[in-house]
Structures are given as C-alpha cells and as structure tokens.
Symmetry: C2
Subunit: 306 residues, 2 copies
C-alpha cells in the first residue's frame, strides 16, 4: 500500500474496538470465557488501546455475555488500554462498580420504535432511566459514553430526522455523557447524511471532539461513511475486529465495520492508529475459527488466505 495523506483528516484516530462486546453479543456461538479473555489480550497486543470488554445487560437478553463478571476477573489488563463496559441501567451500574470498572457506556435510541423494542420504554423514559446511571457514574469519576442507535434509519420507522438524533444527543451530553457514538445500526446511511448530521450536532454544541461514529456494513457503506466523518473532524471510530457481529434487526448477516478494513484505509491515508495489522488479522482469523465461519472482513480474507 502506498501512503498518501488527504488534507483535513486527523493525524491520529482512536479506534474504539467493539468486537468483544457488540461483536460477540450478536454472534450465535457462545464463546467460552477463556477465549474471550484471550481475544481481548490479543486485541491489546495488536495495538488497540480502547476495547469494550463486555456488557452488564441481564443474561436472559444476552446469554452470549452472561459471563461478564467472570471475564472481568479473568482478563489480563495491558497498561494504557481502556476497557469500557456496557451498562444498561442502575443494576448494571451496581455490577460495574462492584467489578471496579471506571469507564462505561449506555445504549440509547434515536427512535421511539427501537426504544420500545430494545428498552421497553419511550425515548423520554429511557433518558430518565439513564439520568441516575450517568449521574452516579460521573459522581464516582467514571468516563461515560452514550451510544445513539438508529441514528441514520430505523427498520420500523424508515427515515430518522436529523433533528431527532440531535435532540437525543444533546440531552445525553446534558446528563453528563463524555462521548456520543452515532450508530448506524441498520447500515443504511450514506456520506452526505453523515456529514449533515455531524454538522447539525456541531451547531447544537456537540462538537466532533465529543463524537464517535459507529457504522455497520450491511449495505457496504461503512468505510465511505467513515471517510466522510473523518473529513468532518471526527477522530474516534468504532469497529469490530474481523467484522464480527451481525445486527439482529437488519436484513443481513453483515454487521460492524471490520477494524482491519478501517486500519487499511487509515494507514494508507497516513493516519496513525497504533495497530499492527497482520497481528490483528491473525487474531480475527483465530476468532473466526472459533465462531465456525469465515471472517466477513475483506482485509482478513485477503491477508490470511492460505
């Protein structure tokens, strides 16, 4: 690959690795806790510096991550690596506090339909539920990220107005969230839409320093959308090693943007990530074997072909 920078991009991008949580949560196979711990250790060894480790959601809803406490006790931690954990509610926060976690993420929805189905609440009610979670977490000095899911489209409502996403994001920042991750949960967004939403958020006081983007590759748009976001100044990008994790609400098996495909683009653009791409691809090949299917990442397919 020839490295050629593009004007206006950040010098360095923080990759927020979601494979162990968002990836494994949406896979049919339940991975043993020792393999999860090894996966996380290998991701850190490959240079990833933020790895969302697991979720304190109730095991009934996400049996794939029912071993959260066990994993957190078993995990080797690398110095300088952050391991945030998803926390759905106050009960989850209690579990996080008991586990010594210092960085959490909450999972909000931009649409009423998804709030109802995923959280069994209206959008307003869900924000009321998050208020004490975020408030108590901040009092303890925790860093809090908020996902805003269905930010570019909703499988039941179709188009999602930009102002609706802005309104939810602004309220989450007002609650005390440090970072907003804009989730294209069903992968329908395109680069103009991405640019317009980020612009509208900036006008509403939520600048790119507070934003992350979280694209799914259901329609092949994730990397082009990421490029559009980078050109707006966003410098935190969510991705999943090997592209693991289909979205159960989208009409396709393809899920998260693959970290390897993202890293290929960033390194070609001369943007620093700290990631050792061959080591990461080898980790994803290893995990794909455990999941019993080939990695959907193009880079993993190309680099680990026998």
């Amino acid at each position: 690959m020839t490295t050629v920078p593009l004007e206006g991009l950040p010098e360095r991008v923080t990759i927020y690795e979601v494979g162990p949580r968002d990836g494994l949560q949406n896979e049919k196979t339940i991975v043993p806790v020792a393999d999860k711990a090894e996966f996380i250790a290998r991701l850190a060894a490959a240079g990833l510096r933020t790895v969302e480790a697991t979720s304190f959601v109730h095991p009934t809803w996400v049996p794939q991550l029912a071993d959260a406490e066990e994993l957190l006790a078993a995990m080797d931690r690398t110095e300088g690596v952050r391991y945030p954990v998803l926390v759905p509610n106050e009960r989850g926060l209690d579990r996080a506090l008991a586990s010594g976690i210092t960085e959490i993420a909450v999972f909000a929805s931009a649409t009423e339909s998804f709030a109802r189905r995923n959280l069994n609440r209206t959008v307003d009610e869900s924000l009321e539920m998050f208020a004490p979670v975020v408030g108590r977490a901040r009092e303890r000095g925790m860093w809090v990220r908020a996902y805003v899911s269905m930010a570019f489209g909703d499988p039941w409502e179709g188009d999602v107005p930009i102002e609706q996403v802005v309104s939810v994001a602004v309220r989450l920042v007002e609650l005390g969230c440090s970072q907003i991750s804009l989730g294209d949960t069903i992968g329908v967004g395109t680069p103009g839409h991405v640019t317009a939403l980020i612009g509208a958020l900036a006008e509403a006081g939520v600048g790119t320093d507070r934003l992350a983007v979280h694209f799914h590759d259901t329609y092949g748009q994730a990397l082009a959308n990421t490029l559009a976001a980078l050109r707006c100044g966003v410098s935190t990008v969510d991705s999943s090693a090997g592209g693991i994790g289909g979205c159960p609400y989208a009409d396709s098996a393809t899920g998260n943007l693959a970290t390897e495909d993202l890293v290929w683009m960033l390194h070609g653009l001369g943007v620093e990530t700290g990631v050792d791409l061959p080591a990461l691809a080898e980790t994803s090949r290893w995990m794909a074997a455990r999941l019993g299917r080939p990695s959907p990442s193009r880079v993993v397919q190309a680099l680990t072909k026998d």
Copy 2:
C-alpha cells in the same frame, strides 16, 4: 435510505458496467451464451446505459468469453445503451469491425511486470501495439477507452509511482483514446492516493472529464476510493453487477466493486444513475445462482435475503 447531497459531487454519474466482461472473465464457471445475453438484457432493463459486453481476446487465454461473436449476434440491444467490447490487439479490432462494434476498450498496464505477464511485452512495446489499434479505430469513428491496470499497486513491484501512471495515461490519450479508466487491479489503493493521482493527471492535461475509476474491493476500499474520486470531479465509475469477478492476480476471491453497493451510495447522495436498484439486485441474485455461489455484494445480500 435518507437522501442527503454532499457538496461538490457530480449531479449524475455514468456507471460503466463491467460484469459481463470483467466479471464473467474472472469467474471459474463458463456461463452459456443464452444466459450472458439474458444478463446483458436484464442489466439494460435495470437502467444501466453502458454495458461492456465481452472481449475479443484469444479464446485460449479467456475461455469464459470464447463466444464473443455468438453473443454479439444473439444479444438484444436496447436503444440508448452502449455496449463496448474489449479489444486486445489488431486481430481483435478486425473481429470488432466484422461484428459491427462502434465502441472498444484496450487494456494497458502501468507496470512493466504486469505488461510482461499479461501482454508479453514491455510497457513501451504494448503502447506500440495499441497505436495502430487506436489509430484505425478512430479513423472509423469509433469511441476508444483505455484501461490502465495496476494503477495503485502491483503484486510483483509493490508501490507504483504516480508519475509512471500519469506517463502511460498521457501516452494513451495522445494515441487517441477518449477515456482512461484507472484500475486498482489488486485493490490496495486508499482515498489519498486516489486524490493525488487524479490531481497529477489533471496537471498533465488529463482532466476528470476523460477519466473513469475502476476499483476492486479486495481490501474493502472500493467505495471509499470512489467517494474520493467523485469529490475530485470524476463522474464515470466502473462496477460489476453483484460484484462478480475475482482478480486472478490478487490474494482474495473478492473482486470488482459491486454496482449495487455503488448505486446505494450514489442514490443516498442524491446523485442520479438511472438504475432501478431492486431490479438490478434481483438480476445479480439470478446470476449468482448460475455461478453457484452467493453474490459478494453487501446490498445484494441484504436486498435479496429470503
């Protein structure tokens, strides 16, 4: 999908559909001539207005397209649709003339290694070979496109200097070629490289009105690279319905940018293509069944999921 334009993009993009030629040429399965004719008719019915139909390369080298004359005789032609044919040399041009073809493409290389392996000549010798092909074609009033392959990287040489690609492109324009298609044959390019090459070509007098881009998705970069090219003013994009056609020289089964993934992005950006996306995806699903494997296009997978 919400349609939101992005500043500076062309209002309309011409999709140069390469599935029947570049796609089928690189598939293991040899498709019967009747299915090829139906494929081309369905692509035109789905709104594609430029469909590269076949190649007059010697059947020994590309048995998949050995039926070129038979196909051209069997094909229904839709008014307003262009059906260029690849012509490797003067013998191919004679066959094109005998078949009543008015638009052709020649296939050049930016690198010595690929010229030697694919054309059995140096780059200079290959341009000498093309001179009478292009000259005679232009005398007959034909439209001539030239592919410049390995324009972003070469599997034997690695990096390909931008000035080397510019030099080949300039000489092809001097020979009389109307359009230059920049081919990332092994899919390694990234958006900064794309932008720099297009800029260097403009400085050398080869403007975006003469350019097309031809990206492969081997490393998942094709759509992001296309977006970068559109932002430079390029308005002709090569793609393959359903993403068919692996490149035999790249370390992966994934090949051409899928037309459906391209159309999804363009329509989301409000860029006109004239393409009926569901009809196109259904055509690709049909062809994938004939090739005996799922379509690599994310959009085809999502839209035609049972």
